[in-house]
Amino acid sequence: MLTIKNLHASVEGTPILKGINLEIKPGEVHAVMGPNGSGKSTLAQVLVGHEAFEVTEGEILFDGQNLLELEVEERALAGLFLAFQYPVEIPGVSNLQFLRTALNTLRKHHGQDELDAPSFMKLAKEKAKQVDLSPDFLKRGVNEGFSGGEKKRNEIMQMLMMEPRLGILDETDSGLDIDALKTIANGVNTLRADNRSFLVVTHYQRLLNHIVPDVVHVLANGQIIKTGDKQLAMELEEHGYGWLGINEAEAAG
């Protein structure tokens, strides 16, 4: 589904990603772990097309398409979804209005009819319930005045609505208590399917107890230095990143 070959990317001339190779097959959940500053979030941002990052080398194929040739919104319509680490607020634009615009754009792209208001409302309420968000949040401005946890749940709710081919979670677990973590993991797990994959970017192993990955990668200094199964995440939890010869403080610098 997703093939990343020798990906190099930099921000304002500073290289961040230095030759990433990664292959995600349909139905797989991959976790990317690593210390702060290793390039985890950059990888997520480059995949969706954030313009602050310049791809200097390598290629990304998504369902056979050259992802790097597509605009941000084209990538989204092709089935790429990013649950942002820091979801932005859009004051005055209700969650409902935003979601309905997004969903109907996607449906139109797939040649489907737009959802009418009642069907949309029903769907939105159902998905909100799945992530424990009260329907009141639907009427509020996008992330406007939401707590950190509410913002993250809102991201997962959007993912449940959009049903992407590839869901990317960028440190969705950061700042969440254990109950919220479980809720979010449950949301993601209900979406797991043979034809849908996930890339879970996280600093900590605890999320991976709830979203169990098929493959775990360790990213350090812009490269994948180790790949394994879920056991690898456990070992990292136990021994820290130092065990792999990574000086965390230095990497973060």
Partner: protein
């Protein structure tokens, strides 16, 4: 991928009302002097006192100099180079019915989405944009102007006013001010200049001397006006100024909602629009005045466009009266306008809700004045400014509590939204408080349409133009909800058009 996907790249103004109507006009030679004023007054068959009033205004005007305290830059207008009267030629003196109106004019208004045929208006033709036949029964469904009486002002004259009979049944007078001077001179004489005196300011005095047409509304005691009233101003002729004068009076216990709209052809020269609007609300009366201003803003290099120098003021004269201004401003090259409320009656209420969008090289210095005179008077100001391109926008507001304004209150909120990094937004709030029991609250914010917001929307599959439009509409929400419902949709669309652009 496109080279850049900054929010500002998705903002481009496509002006859809920029066409010229090819029609024969009677136009004065350019120039301003007493003779011009006399001729103007004579053509309109005005009473003697009106001419004297104009001449006195002109005398005061000649003593004045053009103000320069606004934060705008433009070449001063050469008042001798413009014409002060231009009217479409016609056979009879004044068209009494639509059949006598030049079809070319009717087409002009239809093209602008303003139906002058009452039947069609009822059927909602304006909104649908297609001619509908015999649907007069299906009221209330259609376009924005479906249940609205319209006074259409073309250059210096009112072409036609719709639904006059229906309004007359309720006792409401709605006509051009020229007609009001003929039919109801006593009302005009009583109220004209009572809110904006002849010598008020440079452009208001000029207007008082040379105003050509505009609308007149009188809602009698206890009457709630049965439909929305609207005036549609169209500048067509070249090298002319438009000096309209609007006077709205709501008698005791009366209420009325009024909307004005404006457009002009696309031209390289600047054209002057210097209007005066006066509102008078007596005891327990309420006037809601909404503006959707879409004058030609000039091209993307800042050439041409309308100079919109306007004095608008409402007098909440009676106790418990209310004046509410709502404006959505997307047009004009230079705007200079401060719709104000004088809260004279005890417990009277003043409101100002504004959205101003400037793009390219547009400049706007706009805001409001709330003058609290009466006890327990209350005012609310919500001003939203959106600057894009190289435009520059200032909010300028005065909140003043006189010693008599016991227990008065004001709440002000000014929010600026910047799109791109070449535009400017400024806030100049003035507060003068001469009564210690008065309360005033002021909030101000400045924000940007951020790259992060854009990425967020686009990551959900929403294209960049729609994203900008959605973010801007969200920003304006508090003001749009104050517009008459039919027009809130129109206003949203207008912003969308003003933000239309291409990728990269």
């Amino acid at each position: 991928m496109a080279e850049s996907n900054k929010p500002e790249d998705f903002v481009k103004h496509e002006y859809e009302a920029g066409f010229v109507t090819d029609i024969e006009s009677d136009t004065f030679e350019p120039g301003l002097n007493e003779d011009v004023i006399k001729r103007l007054s004579q053509i309109k068959g005005e009473p003697e006192w009106m001419l004297e009033w104009r001449l006195e205004a002109y005398r005061q005007f000649q003593e004045m100099t053009e103000p320069n305290w606004q934060k705008v830059n433009f070449e001063p207008v050469d008042l001798q180079s413009i014409s002060y009267y231009s009217a479409p030629k016609k056979d009879s003196d004044k068209p009494q019915s639509l059949d006598e109106v030049d079809p070319e004019l009717l087409r002009t208004y239809e093209k602008l989405g303003i139906p002058l045929h009452e039947q069609k208006a009822l059927a909602g033709v304006a909104g649908a944009g297609t001619p509908a036949e015999s649907e007069a029964e299906s009221t209330g469904g259609g376009g924005a102007y479906s249940n609205v009486a319209v006074d259409a002002v073309f250059d210096s004259v009112s072409v036609v006013t719709t639904f006059k009979e229906k309004l007359a049944e309720a006792g409401v007078i709605f006509c051009s001010i020229s007609e009001a001077l003929q039919e109801h001179p006593e009302l005009v004489k009583q109220y004209l200049g009572s809110v904006v005196p002849r010598g008020d300011n440079y452009f208001a005095s000029l207007n008082s001397a040379v105003f050509s047409d505009g609308s007149f509304v009188y809602v009698p005691k206890g009457v709630k006006c049965p439909m929305e009233l609207s005036t549609y101003f169209r500048i067509n002729a070249e090298n002319t100024g438009q000096f309209e004068r609007t006077l709205i009076i709501a008698d005791e216990g009366a209420s009325v909602s009024y909307l004005e709209g404006c457009t002009a052809p696309q031209r390289d020269e600047n054209q002057l629009h210097a209007a005066v609007v006066e509102l008078v609300a007596l005891d327990d009366a309420e006037i809601k005045y909404s503006t959707v201003q879409n004058w030609y803003p000039g091209d993307e290099n800042g050439n041409g466009g309308i100079f919109n120098f306007v004095t608008k003021r409402g007098m909440a004269r009676g106790k418990n009266s209310k004046i509410s201004w709502t404006q959505v401003e997307t047009g004009s090259a230079v705007t200079w306008k401060y719709p104000s409320c004088v809260l004279k009656g005890d417990n009277s209420v003043g409101e100002f809700y504004s959205v101003a969008l400037t793009n390219n090289y547009q400049q706007a210095d706009t805001g409001t004045k709330m003058i609290h005179l009466g006890k327990n008077t209350r005012s609310t100001i919500i001003a939203k400014g959106i600057s894009a391109g190289h435009s520059d926008q200032s909010y300028r507001g005065l909140v003043k509590f006189q010693p008599t304004a016991e227990g008065a209150r004001n709440f002000t909120q000014c929010d600026s939204l910047l799109i791109g990094d070449k535009c400017g937004a400024h806030t100049f709030p003035y507060i003068e408080n001469k009564n210690s029991s008065a309360t005033v609250e002021h909030e101000a914010t400045t924000s940007k349409v951020s790259d992060e917001q854009m990425l967020f929307c686009r990551q959900r599959g929403i294209d960049p133009e729609q994203a900008v439009s959605m973010i801007v509409n969200g920003f304006c929400k508090e003001v749009f909800k104050e517009l008459p419902m039919e027009f809130a949709v129109e206003a949203g669309k207008l912003l969308e058009v003003s933000l239309e652009g291409s990728v990269g």
